[in-house]
């Protein structure tokens, strides 16, 4: 009896698997970073319009890390990433024989914000940010006055993206010096709207997330310029404006963001058309959704890398890289 039932179950499921394989149509599967999502979504929308519905594109949001997991398992064709691939992911891809082509698509700045009515905090240094966010601060740095004596003796409340996001990886690497190294007692959310609400309604708040989100919520938040103490990146505190990020002055809190195309998928004509469309029309769409477009040259170089099928990461598979300016990126890409 049990043998019969298990044989039946097995037969049904193998039929399903075969049917699934037969019915797989022209579809491009993309997943990954929520930061890159708006750009890829816009490209997918325009691409499908241009193809008049011949090719279907799906774009998921499972975070940079979650995206690489699926990508290296061969489940997706392209993955969105808000930081370069890191060693453990390189390893996972290698194990499954997945090679990838790395293409930078835009620049993003991380905005540091406080409550709208906070009159005393007008700029902050990277060192002060470290004092606030490093693991040793947990349970100890609880008041503004502990950071800078002229700030009030009031409680400070922190808001930031969840620990699975590439944004959190980048911020901790840039500020504390080690990715994922942070105090744990802050309000974390994968949903940036929750952070906007938190910072906007809490008079003792300080938080960070992508500049694109700040742009849409300007009226509710106060942006704080950041001073990295290095005069070559602009003297004194710098605001994450379009020009400052483009010129590489808003350091260390601006970074390139990427897509990774699987080499196996790059053989498919629809993936080729999509990637070329991305490189050719990306710049305009990047601006439209609130990010900073790379110079024309960067997209040309990307296209060249893709057409030549150059695999691997120009960052050597070490994950987050702090202080990569656009000209550095161009130099690396050009090699």
């Amino acid at each position: 009896m049990i043998k019969k039932i298990s044989a039946l179950v097995l037969a049904v499921f193998s039929a399903l698997v075969i049917a699934r394989a037969v019915y797989a149509g022209e579809i491009i599967r993309i997943d990954g970073s929520s930061t890159v999502y708006p750009i890829t979504e816009a490209v997918a929308e325009e691409f499908q319009k241009a193809e008049k519905g011949k090719v279907n594109v799906t774009v998921g949001i499972s975070g940079t890390g979650g995206g690489f997991k699926k990508f290296c398992a061969g489940e997706t064709d392209i993955t969105d990433a808000s930081r370069p691939i890191k060693a453990s992911e390189v390893e996972a891809c290698k194990k499954n024989g997945i090679e990838y082509i790395e293409l930078p698509v835009a620049y993003d700045g991380l905005a540091v914000m406080v409550h709208k009515k906070n009159n005393l905090v007008n700029h902050i240094t990277v060192k002060e940010l470290k004092t606030i966010w490093e693991p040793a601060a947990q349970g100890k740095i609880m008041k503004w006055s502990q950071i800078r004596p002229e700030w009030p003796e009031k409680e400070i409340h922190l808001y930031g993206p969840g620990v699975d996001s590439g944004t959190f990886d980048y911020f901790t690497e840039a500020v504390v010096g080690k990715a994922q190294s942070s105090r744990g007692d802050f309000t974390a959310s994968e949903d940036d709207n929750v952070l906007v609400q938190g910072i906007a309604t809490d008079p003792g708040s300080l938080g960070f997330f992508g500049v694109a989100y700040y742009e849409h919520n300007k009226d509710k938040l106060k942006l704080v310029p950041v001073d990295d103490g290095k005069d070559e990146n602009g003297k004194g505190p710098v605001l994450p404006t379009y020009d400052n990020i483009l010129k590489g002055l808003y350091q260390p809190l601006s970074r390139p963001i990427f897509i990774y195309v699987s080499k196996k998928s790059a053989i498919k004509p629809e993936v080729q058309r999509f990637t070329k469309f991305y490189m050719k029309n990306g710049a305009n769409l990047v601006k439209e959704v609130g990010y900073i477009a790379l110079p024309e040259k960067a997209y040309e170089l990307g296209l060249k890398r893709f057409e030549k099928g150059m695999t691997g990461s120009v960052f050597g598979g070490h994950g987050v890289q702090v202080g990569v300016k656009i000209e550095d990126l161009l130099k690396k890409e050009g090699q």
Binding site: V17, I27, D31, E41, A44, Q48, T58, I61, N193
Partner: protein, 302 residues
């Protein structure tokens, strides 16, 4: 005499007090629901039009629509119902009518009761490993429906068992007395008699499933999708296509969640309009199920 009258008066007072408290409790629930509905209608009504229902999602809030989400929800719910109903009713019938009291059956019963209380995201993780990865169904309509089937199955089984138990023993005995065997009795008498109760259970379970987003997000349905699964009926031979089962999908709760988490104001209007569509589909499904229950209830005459 005087004393009894006083006690009576006090009891009547308590009676009225309780009735008032009960009414108040009912009104609180209704008022909250009303405020919620008003709020959603107020925010979303302006976006609710033909264009919204027939467009795909877009990065521009005023061009975005909910077509792929509501079609996905209809697909997944229909499939979940088709799988969960026969499985659940068969399992309940076995446990109630055929299963003898044994250690194994007791173990199964306890587990089903416990499974009904398991958070749905756990089923999502199971679905991800079993259906998406192990069986290679990927993020398809079928994988989603099977995962939701897992979520609703315990509720369907438990309520079906209750309904079977409510059928009087005398009905079964009368059937046996007329020479019917067990399967005939179950098929012709017990299940039809229990059908209204079974339908109520299925309605409740499906209403739970339609709003579920956690298990579907876990299996990876949190996605921008601007196409529909292939229609099951086609004009070309063989007229029926199962292709849609294996295609990617999204559902209403996930599309709403996606819009809520966006910064532009236009998207919060879209999510409110999406909630109205979700409520309308849930209401329609419940209405249909109530209609079916009434029809089954009419057939039972003892």
């Amino acid at each position: 005499m005087n004393k009894t009258a006083r006690i009576n008066r006090i009891n009547r007072l308590y009676d009225r007090l309780f009735a008032a408290a009960g009414l108040l409790a009912t009104l609180v629930g209704l008022a909250v629901l009303l405020v919620l509905l008003m709020d959603v209608l107020f925010d979303g009504a302006s976006r609710l039009n033909y264009q919204f229902l027939t467009s795909y999602p877009s990065r521009k809030p005023e061009e975005a629509g909910i077509l792929s989400a509501w079609v996905g929800t209809v697909w997944v719910m229909a499939l979940t119902g088709l799988i969960a109903f026969p499985l659940g009713v068969a399992a309940a019938t076995y446990l109630e009518e055929y299963g003898r009291k044994s250690r194994l059956n007791e173990f199964i019963e306890i587990n089903i009761a416990n499974l009904a209380g398991v958070p749905s995201i756990i089923y999502g993780l199971l679905g991800l490993e079993l259906f998406v990865r192990l069986l290679g169904l990927q993020r398809s309509v079928l994988a989603g429906a099977l995962t939701l089937t897992l979520v609703v199955l315990p509720v369907v089984i438990i309520s079906t068992r209750e309904a079977l138990r409510a059928v009087p023993q005398s009905i079964r005995e009368a059937s046996y007395a007329l020479g019917a065997d067990k399967w005939q009795t179950v098929r012709e008498q017990v299940i039809p008699a229990a059908m209204p109760g079974i339908m109520s259970g299925v309605i409740l379970a499906m209403s739970r499933a339609i709003g579920e987003s956690a298990p579907l997000i876990t299996i990876g349905a949190l996605t921008y999708i601007a196409f529909l699964p292939t229609s099951p009926i086609s004009t070309e031979f063989p007229f029926i296509s199962l292709k849609g089962l294996f295609e990617d999908f999204t559902v209403l709760p996930i599309q709403i969640f996606n819009w809520v988490s966006r910064p532009q104001k236009g998207f919060s209007e879209n999510s409110a309009a999406g909630i109205i569509v979700l409520l309308a589909i849930a209401l329609f499904m419940n209405g249909l199920a109530i209609f079916l229950r009434r029809r089954f209830a009419k057939r039972v005459r003892w």
